[in-house]
Symmetry: C2
Subunit: 331 residues, 2 copies
């Protein structure tokens, strides 16, 4: 008699998109991966409807592909922007969705009649890279997701570390310059205020205000408000001096923040995901050089700094992994 | 038949002094605590001689006080400045003692014919406060020892966290201002460059260079080179405006560094030990206010920031505790 394969569904809820998919419990493959717009402006009930429909769709497609029964699905792992109360399964507040104290885990779980778990999206992305991606084989892993903001997750001794009140890993909101740029969080000099996607675009615009001679302007048809981090990376790849400088500065700022992490937490792996990884080695090479200059040698020698390997699915894979870790014990 | 009490000897090796003492395995009391000058300039063999003699003295005194047999002593925990190779028991380098790759653990252990363990002095101090001091009852603890430098230790999920290569917790060498003051480590803007004892004294001297009207000068007979952090705290207690400002700035810098830790590690306890705790509430009150301004509310709400409760013995108590944790399992 063979043991039937069992499956876990993962959901990655973002401000813009919801991603979902299924994996067998051994994490060997991704099945029925889907993405749909969140439409958070329609309110929490509509978003829960959409999530439940995606889960049912993923289950149906997985059954089609694998011949699984409904009873072969153990449950649903959900990754959500935070802060969260993980044990109660409640989203405390998400500025992008306008939710407060919303019991997302139980709303979704009861709708699809499956056990569910909830964890922070950046934690999920880190655990996804640890379980199946670029941080595989690590034991002490720092994950950063750089997009609209900078999220972070910590894996210590092979387990996701949540801290005393589930907010550990907020690397984006560590100060790299105590009297520096104002951050959306209200603080000054946060890493996120320098190296998030919008911050990269903003720094490029600041340079262009002074020196407008750049192909950046051509790329956006002269409309500076359309400059994004992607535009900057594109211009940098073409050798535009202003864009090259902005990317180099980004590497410097990230290098300062990551050096702090190396000296505090001495990880074996730093995995960086999100839009900025599109910049590739033009970002990673000077970033590693900055870290070598700043962090202690034994910490530098012990650590590799790598781009994520699951750019589209880390959140879903990690949501599956958090369900597995929480409900079935270790990964 | 009663179970015989068993004992562990702790040794706290510093650049200036060696402290030693014994504790029963349940940590309920300190016995035969001693302190002697290190005299590192006499070389490693002389220092090992001195440590071995202190251990024998502690054992003899403990036997006298408790009626214990020699066989009731399980071993020796040693705390030493780092970086260390903990598993091999080797001090990799200590600038203050001039040692390189020195097998301190086995040199001491074989001399007194007892099992020995080695851990970083700042880790020991943190574990001491966690086991028997101000961080008791915590689960995620950040310890800082502020003296000539700023050392740190992390307790995560109730256990000392060492990282991938035993250097985790170097909070003193996290950047709070990427373009700031040069640090002894060669980097710029490290917390230690602002808030260590010598940095506090240096900042006071810088203000005095511009505005010499301060009782600080009276306290040192007009010799600015004699100003120490203690002098600054003393003048601040007497209401001297320049000293008050230097202490407030110190609270600000420490608050920035500690806010970073709260956002990354979300500890339930931050325990601050070392000379600066002499400043008392004039330092702690504005420090806590800075952290409230900067760190995320759930992290602030979850965390108390307290001075150490074992100013003289945290290192020895922690050395005992590291031996117990390593050799007998959890504390």
């Amino acid at each position: 008699m063979t043991v039937r394969e069992q499956f876990i569904v993962g959901v990655d809820l973002g401000g813009t998109n919801i991603a979902a998919g299924a994996m067998p419990t051994d994490g060997t493959r991704e099945i029925a991966m889907r993405m749909a717009p969140t439409h958070g402006e329609e309110g929490s009930a509509a978003v829960v409807d959409r999530i439940a429909a995606m889960i049912e769709d993923v289950i149906a497609q997985t059954r089609l592909e694998t011949g699984a029964e409904r009873s072969d699905f153990l449950g649903v792992g959900i990754g959500s922007p935070g802060p969260l109360d993980r044990l109660r399964g409640v989203v405390i507040v998400t500025p992008n969705l306008g939710w407060r104290d919303f019991p997302l885990r139980d709303e979704v779980g009861s709708r699809v009649n499956l056990p569910a778990t909830l964890d922070n999206d950046a934690n999920c992305a880190t655990l996804g890279e640890f379980w199946c991606g670029a941080a595989r084989g690590g034991r002490h892993v720092m994950g950063m997701t750089i997009g609209t903001g900078i999220g972070g997750g910590l894996i210590l001794d092979g387990k996701l570390y949540h801290g005393a009140s589930d907010i550990a890993g907020e690397i984006g909101h560590t100060t790299i310059d105590a009297t520096g740029r104002r951050c959306k969080c209200g603080n000054y000099g946060c890493l996120e205020a320098y190296a998030s996607g919008p911050a990269i675009a903003e720094r490029a615009r600041e340079v262009l205000d002074v020196d407008g001679d750049s192909i950046l302007l051509d790329l956006v048809g002269g409309d500076m408000s359309r400059i994004t981090a992607q535009t900057v990376f594109e211009a940098s790849k073409r050798g535009d001096p202003i864009a090259v400088e902005v990317v180099r500065d980004t590497a410097h700022f990230l290098g300062v923040g990551i050096s702090n992490l190396l000296n505090i937490f001495n990880p074996d792996t730093v995995v960086i995901a999100g839009g900025v990884t599109q910049a590739g080695e033009q970002l990673f090479e000077p970033l590693r050089a900055e870290v070598r200059r700043r962090a202690f040698k034994p910490a530098v020698d012990a650590c590799r700094i790598v781009p994520g390997a699951l750019p589209l699915s880390a959140g879903v894979v990690g949501a599956v992994a958090t369900f597995k870790a929480q409900m079935l014990g270790d990964l």
